[in-house]
Each structure stands twice: as C-alpha cells, then as structure tokens.
Symmetry: C2
Subunit: 736 residues, 2 copies
C-alpha cells in the first residue's frame, strides 16, 4: 500500500459515498457488540455522533456541556466497508484521510495498515486489492493529556493538538476526537498526482513572474503539462517543463488595495488525472516602519524593534484585522458553509487581515480559498499557544511533520501573509524563549518550504502589544490607554460585551437569566469567573458599575456593555491608525467564537451573528474617514469637552480637501464646534487637525455625541457617542 | 578524485614538505615568466610573500600600509609540484586544503580539478594517480568587492569574507588573499576518516552521558572501534557501535567554576587510520535571569527580553569576557604561537568567555583547543558584521556551506558556548532584521548541526547593550552611564587608551611623534579620525582636555589615557556584576588587536603585550572581591566623596563574613571612612553594604584613592584611584 504524508488535502476529492459507524470502547481492545455501534458522520466528531445516538442534550444550552466531560478519555472505533466499485484499466481504489483528531490506527484484514497522529498530515492507502465489503476500522486513541498537568491547556503542551479545547476563557473544556477532515474511498487513475507545488518569483518591478511547478505523483518519471488561465478562461501561460515566465502578471491584492486577482492552474498528468486550482501572485514582506532606522543612537545601544509592517506587492499597508478562533468547538463539522458568512462579515467590516490564532485548529482549505477570493490576508500560526512546549525529540518530530504539512498546503494560497510560531510564547504565562527548539524548528521548516513568506516566532514580538481586554482597568479606559501607548502593532486588544438578549435567552435557562450569578450557566458561558482577578469578567459588571452605577436589568447590561464595546473598539482602531507609521497594525481580540457565549470580546456571535461592534469596527476601518482623538469616554457635567480632529487615509487615493464640521450634540441641542478646512490628504497619509472644545451642560444627561461630517461626502462621517456622568438612565447607543 | 566539503580541518594532518611559489598576474590568464615567481609561505598571504620578495617596507610602521593598497585586486598564481612519495599497498596521496582566502581554482594536468570559495570549507583531492613532479597550480582570484560600494566594509556585504580587512576604526584597509589554512600533500590509507562527529546527551542530573559517534570515511560500510581515555590515559569507555553510555562523566567547566576536564577520543578505522582528539562534556543553555518572569503584566504587553544568562552544567554563571578580534591582519600566519600568549592573558585576567566577533575570520583549531584546555568559554559568530547581507540565492548558498563547515568543526569543542549570527545586525548601521534570510538560514544550520548549543541571530538582542566606547561622552563618564543603565548584558563597551610610549616610538616616525597631528601615522594607526564625530578618537585628546586640561607631552597623554582606561573598565565590570541577576554578562570591546595601534579600546597590544588595563580588568573579575559603587570618576576639591560598599561573589563558594575597611587616601593622608562587618555572602550572590562618605581637601591634588581591604584576606582588596579636580599635574595611576 502506498502512503502519502504530504498533507495533500487540497487536491480535490471525489469520494465514494460510505456509511460509517462508531463504537465507544470500554477498553482499548474491547470488541463492540452489535448494539454498541452508532451511526457516525465523517468528517465529524465522536462526541456529536454519540450525543445524537444516545440522546445527550445540546451541549450549547445551559450547563449541558458538563455532561460531555470524559468522553475524550475513551478509545473509539470507527468502521466502514470497502465499497463495491468498477475499476477500469489503469484505475485503483484508495482510502484517503485528510487528518485525524488526534491519533489512530487503521486496520484492514485483521492487521494495522497505518498509524497516524495529528490533524494536519493526511494519508493515503491503496486498497485496490481489498474485497468489496471488507471491513476497514479506525481505532481512535483517547485525547492526549500530558502527564502531571492539571485539567487545563497545559495538558496539550507536548502535542500539536490545539490547546483551546482543553479550556479557555471563552471556550468550554470539551476536547473533540474524531475523523475531522475529509475521509473515505476514492477511485483514481493509478497514475495520479500526489502533490503539486506552484511557486513563483516576482521581479522587483512586478512586471514578470518566473513560475516554477513541481509535482509529486505515483509515476516514476511523470510527464505532464500545465497552464494558467485568467478569470475569463483565457490561457495566459503554458508550461512545458517545470519553469515558465509570465509577463505582466495581474497581482493579487487585499480587497482594500486592489483586486484579489486569481488565475486557474491546470495540471495534467499524462495518462492520469487533471488538477485545477486557483492561484495568485503576490509578494509579502515584513519591513521596518518609516523612520525606524533614523533615531539617535544612545549608548548602551540595544537593537531596533523587529519589523512588523506588512508590505504587499511593494506597498506598506496598514493592517486592520481581527483574531480568528475556531468557529466551532468541533472542527470536524466546519466547512465552507461555516466560513463563508463569517469571512463575509470580516470583509464588510473593512478588515484586511485575519489572524488565525495558534490555540485553535488550522482552518480547512475552504477557509483559505474564501480568503483568496475575498482579498483577505491571513496570518497563520502553528498550533502552539500559551504553553511551554518542550525540546524533547518526540514532540519535535510530531511538530516538524505537522508544520511541514501545514506549510505545504497553505503556501499555495496568495492570501497567506505571515507564518507565526504561536501565541504569546515569550510571555510569563508561557515561558518559552528564543532558544526553544520547537520555535527554531518552525523557523527551519518555514525557511525550507516557504522562505518567501515572513516568519515570526510568536506574537507579540518586541514593540508589539497584547491587551488590555477590558474597557476600563486600573483607573483608565481604552481611550486613555491606547493614546498613551506607542507600540509598533496592536495584535490583540479586547473590549467585551454581552450577547444580545434573545441570544442569551436561548442559551441560559430562564431561572438563571437575571441576575447573573456565578456557578450558573453564566459561568459556563464565560459571563462570570472567566478571566483574571475580576469575577465579573466577561460580563464586566464592575466596569458597568464604575461608569453607570448598578445595572438595572439584563437589557440594561446588554445595552451598556455593547455601547462600551462599540466605542471602545472604534477608539482603539482609530488611535492605532493615528499612530502610523510607527504603528502598522490593529487586530482586535477576537473576531468570532466557537459556541454561544454569554459575554465575550468577539465581534460576531456563534455561528455568524454580528454584534453591534462589528459595524463600529467597520466604520473605524473605512479607508478614508473623519476621526477624532477623544481623550476619554466619560465626561463630567459642566466639563469642557476637547478632541482633536483628523482625516485618516489608508487608501491609495488622495483624499480631496474639504470642510470637516465638528458638532456637539447633547440631547436635542446641537452646537457647531468648528468647521475645519482640511487640505488634500495624500495616499496612505493621515492629517492631524485642530483641537476643538465645547462646554458640556451641567444638567444630568446620559450621553452626548460628537458628530463629524464632511460636506458632500457622507461616507466620511463619524459619530461618537460618549458618556456624560449623571445619575439618570443612559440613552441607548447609536443604532448599530 | 574525491572531494570533501566537510571542513575537516580538525583532523590532524601530516603533510609532506613542499615548496611553494607565487606569481602576481597582470591578467587572469597571464603566464608568468621565470623571474615572476617569488617564494611563497603556505599557509600565508600573498601580500606577505610579495613584500618579502620585492622589499616592501614593514606595513606596520608609519604609513607604510598604504603601499600595500591594491595588491588584493590582482589574480595570483600559486604553484608547487606533486611530491615523490613511496605509496604502500592501501595508501594514496591526497592534496588537502583547509580553506582559501578567498576564491581559487586548482589546476592539474592542464585542467581545473576543483574550485573553492571561502575560508571555512576545506577540500581534499585524491592525487594518487599524478606523477611525482607534476605541477599543481592554484589560481587565486582578486578579493571580492561588491559592485557599487565605496571602499569600505560594505564591499564585503555579499560574501563570507570577513569585513574587517576592508577597513575598521582599529584595522587598516588591507585585504589579505592566499592559502590561509593548512594546505599540502598527505599520504593516507585509502581507507581513511573524513569526518568524525562526537556528540552526547547529558542526563538531567549529569550523572550519565549518552555518547553518539558517527564517522564519514572513504569506505562504503566502515568498521571501526572507538574509546575514551581520561587524562591519565585510562580507558573509561569503549564503543562497539555508534552509541555508548558513560557513567559519571567528569564535566568540563570554565576555569572559574571548576576543572576544564578533557578526555581523549580515539577512533580506529579497520584497515585504516587512527584519530585522536580531545573532547569534553558540558551542557550550555541560555536561560532567563532570576526574576525575569515575575514582573507585573502591564497592558499592552510586549514580550519579555530574550534570555542571555548562560547556564553551564546547570549553573547560571556570570560572563566576564572580552571581544576577540583577529590577532593579526594576516590570518594565514596565525597559529598556536599567536593564540597561546593571548589566551593566557585572558585567563589570567579572570575572564571566562571570549566573544569571537563576526567581523574577523573564525579562529583556527589551535584557538579552540587552547580554550578547551584553559577553561575559556567561546561565543562564536558567523562572518557577518555591520552590513546589510542580502537575501540573494548565491550569497545564501555560500553562507550556508561555510556556516555548516564552521559548525561541524567547532561543535566538537566543549569550550563552545554560543552561536551568534553576527555583529550588530539589527542596528541602524546594518539594517538587517529578523526576516533576513541569511540569519534564518544560520538558525536553521545551527539547529540541524548543533541544536544543543544556544543560537542568537545577532548581538545585541533586546535588553543587551553595546557601547559606549568613550570614557566620557555627552557630559557623563562611564561610572555614571553604567550605573544608570539596566541591561541584561553588556556585550560591548569600550574605554580607549594609547599604547605605551616605547610602543608608539616603534610605529610612529620620530618627526610625527608629538604633537599628534591628523593625516600622519597617528591617523593610520587609529589615534585620530578613527571613529564618529570626535576627530581626536581614539587618542581622545578632547576627553583628556575635559578632565585634565591641555596635555603636556606624549608621556602625559599615555599616562592619563591609561588611567582612564584602567578605572573605566574596572568600574564597568564591577557595576555589571552589581546588576546581577538581571545583568549576566560584561564583555569589554576589545581584547586584542590585529596590528600595532596608536590608541585603541584593547586590553592587549599586538601581538600579545598587555596594557595596564588588563590587570585592572583582572582585578574587577576576581571571583570574590570588595567593591565600591563610586558615582563618578572626577571629584571637586572640597566636595564630599561618597561610595557604596559591596562584596561581589561569582564563585561557587560562600565568602566568609569579615571586616571591610574603607579608607580615603589623599596625598600622604589616610582616613578610615568605615569598618563594615559584612555577613557571609552566599555563592553566586553579591552583598550590598553601607554608603561611606568623606570630605575631600580643598587644596589642589591630582588624584586620591579609595582603598578597600578585608582584614586577613588581601586577595579581596580593591584600590580605586580617582581624579581630584585641580590645575596641578596629575599623579600617575597605581602601578599596573
């Protein structure tokens, strides 16, 4: 039997329909009886199959998730049978598995024919010789749990199994197992492609692409032809060998900087099959920000910060992004239907990059295909997060193999912008260092397989900042915090909010709904006791009390926490943009969530319901807008309000000169503070304007608004709703 | 012919004596006439042979070095003949070259039989079939000079040729060429060893060493035996295969922490030759300093500093070291006789680490053997320094090959502590970044070949500091500067001094000797116009003026500049030690020099003459000493002198309690300031004591002394000579 460890999951599959069953084993070598088998979905997860067959209640409701505890500690046995197929001359039957969560052995004819470990490395078995109806079994091992660790993420600290499912401040402890990637039988020509690598080098002026195509196949000296077609089907390049030159390639751009141009690659193996894939041309670099080298040298002199400014096709661009987590607890049931609405929301929020956080499973091919299509850049991490991953040989072997599989798959996508070793590894809660062999190994793998794409050992690196994850902490709100920061990039920052009232009612039993109490579904769904010292995180009741006094109702908490999240995120994104060019990225924590949370820093509720903040982030990330640097969120009655006016321009076009009107709106009273005649603002430049000020009324009023508008260009308007300290009820935030 | 790119220069050679000649070619393909040939020394340098034959004056005197300009732009032809040797059955004749500076082709029988590029990768040719007396020619290409660069170090920015000889602030522009490593004919068994790798893993408690031995040989399936002997010749381990376990290995320690224990490895190839080599067991790590992880988390949170605390055999040690540069302009004439006296001085100065700076050629085997023997740790850099080395494929190929050769050679030495990509690459004067492919490649090569040894991409990394290189700058002396710094390591800092009067008289013509004027030999020998804005660098006349008024004579300058260097270096080394554990290293710039300088930051004049500061550094680096934190070097008459008393202990032994007496000595008057009854000071700990103070006299006096003595333990005494501002002549410093 031939085996393929190339992680070739991205070759299009045409699987023969198959029925799968599953049994939970009370011992590794137990033989299930006829009644022990339950129907299985593949790809999927054993917990989902088990719950469906045995009538476990929905884990997402109330505290039901606790009923799923311990299922990951069993051995599980999948079974199916070899299908009856008519093989023509030159054809074979293959069993393909795109990846397993997390470790298994494949048995046929009473013996083990393959062992696999890891979600990223697929395998391929030639089963042509097997009889139709012969059983194929896959014995799944229990979830890995590092010996001596408590029941938390550290149990995943010596494997590539994503740490998140071991429990996180927004993820329940629920550790999936199963055949999580495309798996099944396939009829193929015996002469077939196992891997195709499309790579290229762009000339300095981008006028020429020198394309290299290499293939791995089942044929010793394969003969093949290949071609590129543009999006109208016209052939623009034909390869007769491994090299060809394309003149005038149309470049792939992130959506905010140009068209996400894709070509279709066709590779035809003589006497074998045909592969079609979408490819694109782009060059990505991490470069120093403007002015980085120009500072004075003061002794003793350390190094300069590492570069975190992304250059796409020769253009330094400002990254407006968000942190992507697993969109479902169960990777096995994630597919294009999961990804497409979420990525559409990201695109509509004017985000240009998705950071695929290392705590979660790496996304499937559909994710990258959709990012390619939408013009969304991807920052891809390896499966390391917040742990001290060891230098030991067994772990390095596993990591090296899995990482290589991931790189060989994802490097084919023009959306790929950056490889990162993992999340927050050089921080005290992880305690890895630059000397850690896993990270040195990842650098090596990326160098060998994809050295044209930048690599960072972790985020944050020096100069970058993570956090805070609270609207208010240590006496400061996020307006103040970020205006006094000077990072090169903000790759994580969070402002929490609760989920909508209806959403909460769907996940929290009526009798627990209000007031939110610890130890109830509020805790299970991360509203309370989720993170750090404040027991009201992520509901943030203490923050709400600070600004607004005791919350009056569930509706009140939902409204106010979303107000803080909306204005908080807007404030941070716009401030990060004002700190250009030293600062070159802003990515909020987080974009999505794996299940319904009661409260979270996310912009989108599971599975794909935008929270109000998604719209505010979208406004803050418009290519061109009128913006105000507002020193703080809450103002006192009778205080003089001040703010500084800005025009922010991240686009490749100049922003024509105009009149920016700043108005203060308190209740029904509207006061013009200033008409600022701003000059033309060059492409990729911001323009700092004058400070405006206005006296706030001394009568209690819950909120007021700073309205910025540019005559004749409504697309540039911004409207900030701020808090006016008072004792009365607050107004609702501007409708999302 | 077999070729060997393994850089196997460390296999002991028994070369057949050969005569070499050399001709300078007016064109690459010129045929030298009989009178064009001059005798050549191999190893050596074409410039030295040429100068000797053509009567060029000594380049080290006066401004003669300028007469050597341009010799590096010629092609040079070496020639010798195949020796007449009696080959027994099973023997062959081989031509071996340990490395070439910098590029050559080897010709025999009218054709090119080998091409080589780089000083680090040797080659090996089987010439058994050649007739005795047949000519062997080596055509040397001109020194590489990157197109479009000015006549400075940037000309070496796309090759592995050391940048230093293209001109540095303490190195003349004189670019060697030649056969710089052991080169010649050798009779060997046809079955011979090409490379032997001795590696091992120590158990966590160091009680067991699992040894691996691998060999490369000319035999397809070699059979071999090997053994280890201790230093009394007793066999302690016998290997019958590639693996063996040694119980109770005696560890190799740096001299200040234990014995530098070496074993003798013997490897015997069946039917072939025997290799003997000194090996040792040690484990080196770079770890975080104590307390590094315990700081408060303040958002936005960046990463922690990278670890630069060296752990040897499980013990965090404080690095007291110095920066090693090429000990001669001509690497070809450097040998054990060059290294031994220099390394002896370093050892006697209580230094425990030598940083082999990346601007200079990597040292020969004799250097590492001597460091092994003396218990001196080595920080080895790759040949990159202060340049922007490119990502291009040709450079990466050369660098990768040369780096691999270096790693495979040096990893065999227990003295090896650290691999570093190169000098100051992440600074504005170099402009490389973490994304630079050369540095990612070096990380990969080190991971593949020697992942047990730490790797840094460059120095400084974040937290470490380089500089200053002046005793006084921007209104502060080095006492003040370093007491207000908080680096994790000081891997370069300099205090310049002039060379001794007699030494100056030997290199500077009488008519230029005094006063020192720019454009004379003073400039050629780096006394003037050497570095940065101050034209009096390194003589530092402006600094001397600041402290002491107009220099009166050459003798006055020599005496005062050495005083500053002595007290400056002592002050910095002791202050760095006081900043333990956050700070874990202090390495002054620089230890030695490649030729006679008029003034320099070095501790030792070329070739191996210690300057007075060497003794002061030795005192500051004693394992245990009484020390004072003195706020500044120069005090005013009538001012109250203050200092804080310390006991510094870098040793593995406790320092017993005692009485430290602090006395102020002004002229003939001696005043006891305090008797401090200090407690026992634990191993590797410092003890901060009380502040002492005393009124300085108001009468002019050139200097005064703070004497620290511990009753009954004269080895702990320290005596600081400080400046008392006055108009009269200064006293000489304490005799070195």
């Amino acid at each position: 039997m031939s085996m393929d460890d190339t992680g070739s999951a991205f070759l299009a599959r045409k699987l023969v329909p198959a029925l799968w069953e599953l049994a939970r084993l009370e011992a590794p070598d137990a033989s299930p009886g006829p009644s022990d088998w339950v129907p299985a979905s593949v790809p999927g997860a054993v917990q989902l199959d088990w719950a469906k067959a045995r009538g476990l209640p929905d884990f997402a409701h109330g505290s039901n998730v606790t009923l799923y505890a311990g299922l990951e500690d069993f051995h599980w046995l999948y079974r199916t049978t070899v299908p009856k197929v008519e093989l023509k001359a030159g054809q074979g039957l293959f069993f393909f598995c795109g990846g397993v969560d997390f470790e298994c052995e494949v048995r046929m004819g009473g013996s083990v024919v393959h062992r696999a470990r890891g979600m990223l490395t697929g395998f391929d078995l030639d089963v042509s010789a097997a009889k139709a109806g012969a059983p194929l079994e896959i014995l799944l091992k229990p979830a890995p749990k590092r010996a001596g660790c408590p029941d938390d993420r550290t149990q995943a600290s010596n494997v590539t199994k994503p740490a998140v499912s071991y429990g996180w401040d927004w993820h329940p402890r629920l550790i999936p197992l199963g055949l999580c990637e495309e798996t099944g039988f396939e009829v193929r020509p015996l002469a077939h492609l196992k891997y195709v690598n499309f790579s290229y080098e762009l000339s300095d002026d981008f006028s020429v692409a020198d394309v290299s195509l290499s293939i791995e196949s089942t044929v010793p000296n394969p003969r093949y032809t290949w071609r590129l077609r543009d999006d109208s089907g016209v052939q623009v390049l034909e390869g007769v060998g491994p090299k060809a030159r394309l003149h005038g390639p149309r470049l792939w751009w992130s959506h905010d900087h140009g068209a996400a141009v894709l070509y279709t690659l066709e590779v035809e193996l003589e006497g074998g099959d045909l592969l079609r894939r979408r490819v694109g041309f782009r060059r990505v670099r991490m470069v120093m920000h403007e002015g980085a080298w120009e500072g004075a040298v003061v002794f003793p002199k350390s190094r300069e910060n590492p570069p975190v400014t992304l250059e796409l096709n020769g253009r330094r661009i400002f990254i407006k992004g968000s942190n992507w987590v697993n969109p479902d607890i169960f990777h096995g049931r994630v597919d294009m239907l999961t990804y497409r609405p979420l990525l559409g929301i990201a695109r509509n929020a004017n985000l240009n990059l998705i950071r695929c956080w290392g705590g979660a499973p790496a996304a499937k091919e559909a994710f990258f295909a959709e990012c390619d299509r939408l013009g969304l850049l991807v920052w891809q991490e390896f499966p390391l997060a917040c742990n001290l991953y060891p230098d030991d040989a067994a772990y390095l072997e596993l990591l090296g193999r899995e990482a290589r599989s991931l790189v060989r798959r994802v490097r084919q996508h023009p959306c790929l912008a950056l490889w990162v070793g993992g999340n927050e590894l050089f921080n005290s809660w992880s305690r890895m260092t630059d000397q850690a062999l896993p990270l040195r190994l990842l650098n090596k793998v990326c160098y060998e397989e994809d050295r044209g794409t930048p690599f960072l050992p972790t985020a944050p690196v020096e100069g970058m900042g993570h956090g805070d994850y609270r609207f208010w902490n240590a006496g400061r709100d996020v307006f103040e915090l970020f205006q006094s920061s000077a990072c090169t990039g903000y790759s994580e920052f969070g402002c929490p909010s609760t989920s909508p009232v209806d959403y909460l009612k769907a996940i929290i039993p009526d009798d627990e709904l209000w007031p939110a109490r610890p130890g109830t579904s509020w805790t299970v769904h991360h509203g309370l006791d989720a993170w750090e010292a404040d027991p009201t995180t992520w509901l943030c009741t203490n923050t709400l009390r600070h600004f607004f006094g005791e919350p009056q109702s569930l509706e009140d908490v939902v409204q106010k926490s979303n107000w803080l999240q909306c204005e908080g995120y807007r404030s941070i994104f716009e401030e990060a943009r004002r700190q250009k060019p030293k600062c070159s990225m802003a990515l909020n924590w987080c974009f999505n969530e794996p299940w319904p949370t009661a409260a979270n820093n996310s912009l989108v509720n599971w599975p794909a319901k935008p929270k109000p903040a998604a719209k505010f982030v979208g406004e803050a990330c418009r290519p061109i807008l009128a913006s105000a640097r507002i020193p703080k969120f809450q103002w006192a009655r009778g205080e003089t309000f001040v703010a500084q006016l800005w025009i922010l321009n991240d686009s490749a076009r100049p922003c024509p000169s105009g009149i920016l009107r700043a108005e203060l709106v308190v209740g029904s009273s509207r006061t013009v503070l200033l008409d600022w005649a701003f000059p033309e603002v060059a492409p990729f430049e911001n323009c700092a304007g004058p400070q405006v000020s206005g006296l706030l009324p001394s009568t209690p009023e819950g909120s007021f608004v700073l309205d910025l508008s540019v005559a004749g260009r409504s697309g540039l308007s911004s409207s900030y709703r701020l808090s006016l300290r008072g004792t009365g009820p607050m107004e609702p935030p501007a409708a999302p």
